[in-house]
């Protein structure tokens, strides 16, 4: 139930954002976030954006795994 889906913010009007989830558009409330902007990826849960996805961190996580030495 805590399922939250990544979506990209297309535009913002007041406390509402128009977001795109793999091409599908919907509205999401921004009332739980303070600093989201168009272009950000956010996590949508139950009609609300609950966090901005940190793309640098997303890359860092992958980088750590890429550095694991393969075992022959």
């Amino acid at each position: 139930m805590c399922l939250s889906i990544p979506a990209k913010i297309i535009s913002i009007e007041g406390e509402n954002a128009l977001v795109s989830i793999s091409g599908m558009r919907m509205n999401a409330s921004l009332s739980l976030l303070s600093n989201a902007k168009p272009g950000d990826f956010v996590l949508i849960h139950s009609g609300f954006s609950i966090e901005i996805i940190d793309r640098e961190e997303a890359e860092k996580t992958l980088e750590i795994v890429r550095h694991i030495r393969p075992i022959k």
Binding site: C2, L32, I50, A58, L62, V65
Partner: protein, 361 residues
């Protein structure tokens, strides 16, 4: 572009799997406490990739699964009020109360609607001021702020026909109860989106008091495997600690705005959990200052006795003591099409996920 696909990379996942096999030199039991993880673990066949010595257990992390028959009975009682509309998240519809489910009440003509967001319920209240709209508030710290924010909007817009029947719950008391009951686990796979809201401070007690490591995990296969590797490393180094694997969505401090909204609207109450009983300060109820929105204060609600379906062992499954296959009804009298207990009703319940992904695990 958000590098989403790479979290499914076979090569990267294999590197993690190899490491886990290399490091795992003793029997280990890790528990996830999030329905989303229960589902992802099964869907991606994670157990089949792990050495036999590592066992993954599902804890009480599916809100529908831990909800009591009392809550369902009260919701059905409310539905009988004049000009009443009950709004609920989908899975709850089929959970059995003492005398049937919300789905049954709906077929009997009660106005019960499935919503995807509390805001949808509020919109119905706006459109139909002559009706009373009750939102059934279930879910953990991820969902609680969305209910709280909906109540704040209702207050701001002076909407007086919107109410919440809250069974919102808090994760840490259940995680502590599991360990206090003596259920042997070596680490917690902590719920990603709960922690997005709360931050990680709440896990420190678990590490300090019980010596059990907590790693906050994402939901993709790479996330889950990396989390398991982090937990294995902690155990091997004998250094239990709180770590965040899901750093792209979880900050150590969480989402302070969402936490402030929960704090403003709700106060903690003792709450019943399937399998664990009543846990102190593990539930959320609107504060006195938001009484006008609290369905349990505005309407008179009988207190029903909590009943459990006969032979259903969902309570023990939610504690990791038993597996769905241990239940004599599993796959026979109890299937997703015809669920007996809550763990088979919810798409993220242990019984339903085992059943749906039986072929790959």
């Amino acid at each position: 572009m958000y590098p989403f696909e790479q979290y499914h990379s076979k090569a990267l996942c294999q590197a993690l799997v190899d490491q886990i096999h290399l490091m795992a030199d003793r029997p280990l039991r890790f528990m996830e406490v999030c329905g989303g993880h229960t589902m992802a673990v099964r869907k991606y066949g994670i157990p089949s990739l792990l050495p036999d010595s590592i066992m993954l257990l599902s804890g009480p992390g599916c809100p529908v699964c831990v909800t009591s028959s009392l809550f369902i009975d009260q919701a059905i009682h409310l539905a009988a009020y004049d000009r009443m509309t009950i709004c609920t998240f989908g899975d709850l519809l089929r959970v059995q109360g003492t005398n049937g489910s919300l789905e049954k009440a709906k077929t009997e003509g009660k106005d019960i609607r499935v919503v995807l967001s509390g805001l949808d319920a509020l919109e119905i209240a706006r459109q139909q001021p002559e009706k009373k709209i009750v939102l059934l508030g279930i879910g953990f710290e991820t969902t609680a702020p969305t209910t709280a924010a909906t109540i704040l909007t209702a207050r701001k817009e002076k909407i007086s026909n919107f109410f919440v029947l809250s069974a919102h719950k808090l994760m840490p008391p259940a995680m502590e109860a599991i360990i206090s009951e003596g259920i042997p686990i070596n680490g917690y796979i902590c719920p990603g989106h709960v922690t997005t809201i709360t931050g990680i401070a709440m896990y420190k007690k678990i590490v300090e008091n019980f010596g059990i490591g907590c790693v906050v995990s994402g939901f993709e296969p790479l996330d889950l495997l990396q989390t398991i590797l982090m937990l294995v490393r902690q155990v091997k180094a004998n250094q239990p600690k709180v770590e965040i694997q899901y750093s792209r969505a979880v900050k150590p401090e969480g989402n302070p705005k969402a936490m402030a909204i929960i704090e403003e609207v709700f106060e903690t109450v003792d709450e019943w959990w399937r399998g664990l009983g009543i846990l102190k300060a593990s539930g959320l109820k609107p504060r006195d200052s938001f009484q006008d929105f609290d369905a349990s204060e505005v309407f008179s609600l009988p207190v029903y006795e909590i009943s459990e379906p006969e032979a259903c062992i969902c309570g023990d499954i939610l504690k990791g003591l038993k597996k769905p296959q241990d239940c004599m009804l599993y796959g026979k009298n109890c299937t997703p099409d015809n669920p007996v207990g809550a763990c088979m009703v919810s798409s993220e319940g242990s019984c339903q996920t085992h059943y749906n992904y039986a072929g790959i695990n």
